[in-house]
């Protein structure tokens, strides 16, 4: 991970250079899957492991960006974004399960000797409907939850804990065998997606490129939002909600919009995560996962667009290094990171770099 250096340089040399560096990073991300297509043994060949790892981190980066939209801009710290991510993942996972099982029921259902699919999985053999579910499931849940939460002006820590309780409840629900989500094991053993073998290099490369595209699209959406009046209303909402109401804005609609948008982005990220990583299970909904996403955003710098991406990359990069080198100390490190970032880096790495750049 040499991004921090790059960004430092970018801050010093102004926006032109940072654009150039952004372009280089983008080119690298596009080149990565192409390099993975090279024959094994070639000196430039990128292994499937590396590609999957980077793809996974890119999915997390989208989650971080989505979380930043609600936390950094609107001031709503969600500790339940893992739920939306997992819902998107499960919707895609079910399609992959159906594809692997052909005309019969998915393996975990035959294990439980079920004779038919539960109603909510109807139509998931069609890719298009699965895609709709990827958007609808997290979107509708966010809509209903957000509607009630914002209506009663739940905010601050109340909102955070409510979202945590929500994802906790979701996890309990998905852990049960009889709810039809594969219980403990979740969905795995996928074979193909739209007829293409899921482990083949070509499919992997395409999925990776799609992830890059989604990341770019989310960045674009975030950028447009942040620069629009909508973005300014969100910032105002974060700092002085009462003032905004007396200006004649209804904060509920603004919160709900950004909240649902963020949930849908997470769902899409989850849908791209599952075929690349090859498994989805309820532990993705554990409160720990969601709160970890908050530290990505905090480390990178909230209220900025590049910060969350940087944070997700840094933390996950370190995580994959730690879990190999010192597995016992990863949680110590992560815990310390939570404390140190909140104490000493309130504006994150990006804030730090900006400060340096100004000096």
């Amino acid at each position: 991970m040499n991004q921090p250096l790059l960004v430092t340089a970018a801050q010093k040399a102004g926006p032109r250079l940072s654009l150039a560096i952004g372009a280089i990073v983008l080119l690298l991300l596009i080149a990565l899957p192409l390099l993975s297509l090279l024959p094994a043994g070639h000196s430039l060949q990128v292994s499937a492991y590396t590609l999957t790892l980077v793809g996974k981190i890119l999915c997390y980066a989208i989650v971080a960006l989505a979380l930043d939209l609600v936390w950094g801009y609107a001031g709503l710290l969600s500790l339940g974004h893992g739920l939306f991510f997992a819902l998107g993942g499960y919707a895609m996972g079910m399609y992959l399960m159906r594809e692997a099982a052909g005309d019969s029921l998915p393996a975990f259902m035959t294990f439980l000797s079920w004779s038919e699919l539960p109603w909510y999985w109807a139509g998931t053999q069609h890719f298009a409907w699965a895609l709709c579910l990827v958007v609808l499931a997290p979107g509708l849940l966010a809509l209903v939850f957000g509607y009630f939460a914002f209506r009663s002006r739940i905010k601050g820590v109340y909102f955070s804990i409510m979202t945590q309780a929500l994802t906790f409840a979701g996890m309990l629900l998905f852990f049960r065998n009889e709810t039809g989500f594969g219980g403990n094991n979740g969905f795995t053993n996928f074979r193909s997606i739209l007829g293409f073998e899921i482990t083949s290099q070509g499919t992997r490369a395409v999925l990776f490129l799609l992830t890059v595209a989604l990341l770019l699209a989310s960045l674009l959406i975030g950028w447009r939002l942040a620069r629009s009046k909508f973005g300014r209303v969100l910032t105002a909402l974060r700092d002085a909600e009462n003032r905004l109401m007396f200006c004649g804005y209804d904060p509920r609609g603004f919160k709900l919009f950004v909240w649902v948008l963020s949930a849908v982005l997470c769902g899409l990220a989850g849908a791209l995560y599952v075929p690349q990583v090859g498994i989805i299970n309820p532990s993705e909904m554990s409160p720990t996962n969601s709160i970890e996403a908050a530290v990505w955003v905090a480390l990178g710098g909230r209220g900025t667009l590049i910060g969350p991406l940087l944070g997700a990359g840094l933390v996950n990069g370190m995580k994959s290094w730690f879990t190999v080198a010192f597995p016992e100390f990863w949680l110590f490190f992560l815990g310390a990171l939570f404390i140190l970032v909140t104490l000493y880096l309130p504006k994150g790495v990006v804030g730090l770099l900006k400060k340096r750049g100004e000096q």
């Binding site: 936390w71 710290l77 939850f145 009630f148 939460a149 209506r151 009663s152 002006r153 739940i154 601050g156 820590v157 109340y158 955070s160 804990i161 409510m162 945590q164 309780a165 929500l166 906790f168 409840a169 309990l172 629900l173 852990f175 049960r176 009462n242 409160p287 709160i291 908050a294 530290v295 905090a298 016992e328 949680l331 110590f332 992560l334 815990g335 310390a336 990171l337 939570f338 404390i339 970032v341 909140t342 104490l343 309130p346």
Partner: protein, 516 residues
């Protein structure tokens, strides 16, 4: 005294299926001489063939003799006599008969709990030969619960009687008990193939309805009790959180870990007492209380001074930082004590339970914890309302700046209040260690629930926390059997969200001008 010794070779183990008449004679002699010495019984028993051993046990069961109790309990533990080290091997049938005989003897005991257990055993295993004995005990039994259990055992036996009148009486007797076994027994009687007499069948029907009603009452009371018990634990977990949240407006995500630290302190105290003062092991939970309070309060104050103090006014950051602390605490405990649960044993006075109804046992540990939780609430209330520290805490909770202007040392108050909240959680940890598993993840599951209690009860309100904790506990336990634990939890979450629509300030909030 060794009257039987000479006869033993005659029924030695290598003579199979010899002379039943001779055995009968022996048994007759045995019954005639109930005062025969225990050593004699033991030797006689071991010398007998399995068949004969069975008859012997049956005979003993029908004619219990207090003197034989020691022998039987030793036999059940796998030895032969009270001071005997000889190993005894029994097949399943003999083992069953032995249990029955032992129970029969235990009915003569002075200890009501022992008699109750014996009576329950006899409900399953009593033999027709024991009717007369059971009838005598039933008539003379002073304890109500044992009386009921014996009645059931007796009725079970009488149902096999050929005389419909006897069976009818038995069915009526069954109707008066509220025992789950009576229900299954009565249900079989509804089948004409099993019970030929129509009168008995109708009586069985009325009795069944009676039994079901009694069972339902027991079940509901049981659910209410486990609700109270869950509520008392939620209360212990949430009380400290309510104080710190009310005071500082921050959620201490490491609060659950304070519970965990309290539970682990209990474990350490138990180990230390076991090693250095085994005599006091009975009372180790009492020793653990101050220790757990001190450990949790100390850690809490340390955290407040080093981390949380710097984050006042930034509640969301505090939430994240305290989550980081909880990760570190959990991992530290994992490294020190291992990832598995550690064993914390109940002392004798906390094990067992109070049998209220045939299908309702209230474990002593849970009763004690409910009382303990109420005591803690009372003490906290006294501390907050009758001491200088409490006054300061309340002042800072209501208006920090004003309190500071009045000379309240807010920093010190914050630290002490944080210590108090954490210490109460530590006490909760001691309580939890007596009824659940003690592992590194112990606290994680309580943070959400205790926060919901705080939300429901209203911030900084002791009475609110009390009602909310018991309300949530009982609602949880009443919903659980109807729709399952998971759906119950989800439903409660939904209900709380809806409740907040109506009363955003919680159940017991102070109304007032909203200060921006």
């Amino acid at each position: 005294m060794n009257l039987w010794e000479p006869a033993l070779p005659a029924i030695g183990p290598n003579e199979h299926h010899k002379d039943p008449a001779m055995l009968k004679a022996l048994l007759a002699l045995l019954l005639l001489l109930p005062l025969a010495a225990q050593a004699g019984d033991a030797d006689f028993f071991i010398a007998a063939k399995p068949n004969e051993q069975a008859s012997l046990l049956q005979a003993w069961a029908a004619q219990p003799d207090p003197a034989r109790l020691a022998l039987l309990s030793a036999m059940q533990q796998g030895r032969l006599g009270a001071d005997d080290t000889r190993k005894l091997r029994l097949n399943n049938r003999l083992r069953g008969l032995l249990d029955n005989a032992l129970a029969s003897h235990q009915l003569l005991s002075d200890d009501a709990t022992l008699r109750l257990a014996a009576a329950r055993q006899l409900q399953k295993s009593a033999q027709p030969a024991q009717v007369a004995f059971l009838d005598r005990r039933f008539a003379g039994e002073p304890d109500a619960a044992v009386h009921a259990a014996l009645g059931l055992a007796l009725a079970n036996l009488q149902l096999a009687d050929s005389n419909p009148a006897v069976r009818l009486a038995a069915v009526r007797l069954l109707g008066e008990t509220g025992d789950p076994m009576a229900r299954t027994r009565l249900e079989t009687l509804l089948d004409p193939a099993v019970e030929t007499d129509a009168g008995v069948r109708t009586a069985a029907e009325t009795s069944l309805a009676q039994v079901k009603r009694k069972l339902l009452i027991g079940e509901l009371l049981g659910q209410a009790f486990s609700g109270l018990s869950l509520g008392s634990i939620l209360l212990l977990a949430a009380l400290g959180l309510a104080i710190t949240f009310g005071l500082l407006g921050v959620i201490n995500m490491a609060h659950g870990e304070m519970l965990m630290l309290g539970a682990y302190t209990t474990y350490v105290v138990q180990v230390l007492v076991q090693r250095y003062a085994p005599g006091a092991l009975e009372f180790y939970p009492l020793l653990a209380l101050p220790a757990a309070f001190a450990v949790s309060a100390g850690v809490g104050m340390l955290l407040e001074r080093t981390v949380i103090r710097h984050l006042y006014g930034r509640p969301l950051e505090t939430l994240l930082a305290t989550w980081g602390i909880s990760l570190i605490l959990i991992q530290a405990i994992r490294l020190i004590f291992g990832a598995q649960n550690v064993e914390v044993a109940n002392p004798g006075w906390l094990s067992g339970g109070l049998q209220v109804l045939p299908n309702l046992v209230l474990p002593y540990s849970r009763i004690v914890i409910i009382g303990f939780a109420l005591c803690v609430v009372l003490l906290t209330w006294l501390l907050l309302n009758r001491t200088r520290l409490g006054l300061n805490v309340r002042a800072v909770t209501q208006n920090r700046n004003m309190a500071a202007c009045c000379g309240v040392p807010t920093g010190r108050v914050d630290m002490l209040a944080f210590g108090l909240g954490s210490g109460i959680a530590g006490l909760g940890g001691v309580a939890l260690s007596q009824i659940g598993n003690v592992g590194p993840d112990l606290g994680q599951s309580y943070i959400i629930d205790s926060f919901l209690v705080v939300v429901l009860g209203g911030v900084g309100q002791l009475a609110g926390s009390l009602w909310a904790a018991f309300g949530l506990g009982i609602a949880n336990k009443l919903l659980e059997p109807q729709i399952g634990a998971v759906l119950g939890k989800i439903l409660i979450l939904a209900l709380i969200i809806l409740f907040i629509q109506k009363r955003p300030q919680g159940l017991f909030a102070l109304k007032g001008r909203v200060i921006d």
